[in-house]
Point group: C2
Chain length 389, copies 2
């Protein structure tokens, strides 16, 4: 068997959302199709993925470097020991040839997106859901049938009232979610606290509410927010500062007792190790939110989990960023703390299978082979067109 072609296309998100730091009006994502010569039901098996929201499309790096390296490789050199399926680790090594040390995000998003598409193909060739394949390989075969899932919501938008925000949170609870996250840092602290308290009225308890500052704050402001937020005993306080300011994270852990969270803007295992080593991040309490398709993909994520495990971190402290079918499969397959959901946000690129159900804060998993994009009609239309299926 072999990879016949790898295609990519950039799609605008067309989102009008804004967090405290930036808006998404220019945001794009790269959709990837890995086309194999294996046939199922008369059609070639194709692996799909996209780089999740927040970083721009990265097709140029794919076209210039990573796709040609894979296509130029001896096909058998990319197969596992059975010769009947692809080996993601070998394909990763192939993509990394002639790449310089460091400078991860310049390539980790392009490589990770292709790598996740490879895993989609691997699972489809094995005729199993990706979360089952991951559980077998990385989680002692403990196969989940549902995953804890919370809503990343509470965005700012023009003209929004406190009641609008409360109504949004009520809709999430009515939909079956038990935990929500809201943005902070887009308004002065006193107004943000008023928003927070209004949401708490709806949600009931701080342990079901997280807040997200999207790295907006400088040193003084992050400490000021941390002190002000501390009494609410929230589920977590996400991205209080520059994602690489490990010294400030360490200082924040001194003034902020409840969980802190970060990680969606770390692109290498070494950066995450620096966070837990120098940033004072507390194993078993704080939360790490790497986005696997943006950070070299699933095999690298497994290595990051190994490193964290050696440092005493339970997998339940990991919540992958993304809010999509890929991060759901990863959360399920590795037995992580849970997944994020963006209902009604990010158009075709947010959300899960159309037939997924939310009950008491957990989401059901699909039994479709692979990641399960085939269950997302609007998103799959884009992917099918790219692969000319």
């Amino acid at each position: 068997m072999r990879i016949v072609d790898i295609r990519e296309t950039a799609i605008p998100l067309k989102s009008t959302l804004a967090n405290s730091s930036f808006d998404f009006t220019e945001m794009t994502t790269s959709v990837v199709a890995v086309i194999t010569d294996v046939f199922r039901s008369g059609k070639p098996v194709c692996g799909f993925a996209f780089n999740s929201t927040g970083r721009y499309a990265c097709g140029a790096q794919m076209r210039a470097r990573f796709i040609p390296r894979i296509i130029a490789a001896e096909p058998v050199s990319l197969l596992d020991e059975t010769g009947n399926n692809l080996d993601p680790a070998k394909i990763f090594d192939c993509m990394m040839r002639r790449e310089k040390a460091g400078g991860h995000s310049e390539r980790s998003i392009a490589i990770g997106t292709i790598e996740v598409a490879i895993w989609d193909a691997v699972a489809k060739i094995a005729d199993k859901p990706l979360h089952t394949i991951l559980a077998e390989r990385f989680s002692d075969g403990k196969i989940a049938d549902k995953v804890f899932c919370y809503v990343g919501g509470g965005w700012y938008w023009p003209g929004q009232t406190i009641k609008d925000l409360q109504d949004e949170m009520r809709r999430h609870l009515d939909a079956g979610y038990t935990m929500v996250k809201m943005k902070v840092g887009g308004l002065p602290l006193d107004q943000d606290l008023r928003r927070l308290e209004a949401v708490l009225e709806v949600i009931g308890s701080g342990k079901h509410l997280a807040v997200d500052a999207n790295c907006k704050f400088d040193r003084d402001e992050s400490l000021r927010y941390a002190r002000a937020l501390s009494p609410y005993k929230l589920r977590w306080f996400e991205e209080p500062c520059d994602p690489l300011d490990f010294a400030l994270f360490a200082d924040l852990t001194e003034v902020y007792e409840p969980p802190l969270a970060t990680g969606e803007n770390l692109y290498s295992t070494q950066d995450v190790e620096n966070l837990v080593r120098f940033g004072g991040f507390r194993a078993g309490r704080d939360v790490i939110q790497i986005d696997p398709p943006q950070a070299y993909g699933i095999a690298q994520y497994a290595k990051t989990l190994e490193m964290l495990s050696r440092r005493g971190w339970p997998r339940t402290s990991l919540f992958p960023h993304g809010g999509n079918q890929m991060s759901l499969a990863i959360a399920a397959g590795f037995g992580l703390g849970g997944a994020e959901s963006y209902p009604g946000v990010f158009g075709d690129f947010g959300g899960f299978a159309d037939d997924a159900s939310i009950e008491i804060g957990t989401i059901s998993l699909s039994e479709r082979p692979g990641i399960g994009f085939e269950g997302q009609a609007r998103l799959y239309r884009i992917m099918r067109e790219l692969a000319a299926l």
Copy 2:
């Protein structure tokens, strides 16, 4: 005045070089031209730059995000207070709109290259060499007329003998250089030491020789090399390990007394601060080698120098990566330790003005307005064509 157009093109380096970690056969660079409506001698003033060797071309990011943001901005919003020249800081802020925190290398190379081209235009509009403009703004007006310059050489190539290597080093000394750097890590330690001792025979003293491992070594190997190299009291030991493994750097400083060096693979001020804070880097002894056009450009470099100064670092401990006319202007303008030179390497993209002279280890500076690419006939041919001058 205003920016009329910004153009970029990707050029293959066509280099057959290899260091211990990777080869340059696929390497490309992005050349940028910023075309203004200011005229000098009947031609529009154009600023030029390129992203120095080692990272691939980044034109896609420029075309998709950074150039359109600049072109869409109100022209007067990008000018300094006189209204007669561009303001690099305002143009930087414009490029950073709608960019997420962290993930620096995905954009820092594209933004930095454009930013350095802006500086070239700024200096040409002011009718001064860039190093003079930088000295006036960032170095109390201390204008250098020459800069210490060493050769980054000693590469591995197929069939190379010890005598070939010694002959290369003799050529550098004959050309007027007093210090050279050679690669290590491409052969087993005992063979590398044989190469090193052969070069020392030519160079005379370890204080005129640096070695560069290009991040090849894992923890054990970097410590092994550090112990073995320590007695030679070299000028520095460069990139002994992963550029983000700050804990290992700290351990290396415990076993390696002479200077260590790194920085060309750090893309943000925060990464550099983490290096000196957590990596045990020793102010006044170790060497930091950021590549300004790859790390958001000259104004960001000035901020990094401020941060380092607060931590006791003298500017003479900084040697910008690059080996080109841009890093030379930066070394001269900020009063840094010196610049690197790659004679005969990296084709049109290595080296300095054709009329530059090397004497007793220093290189003369050009009085041409701007960075001085106009004095590099082969490189300037590419730039002139891009700008249609």
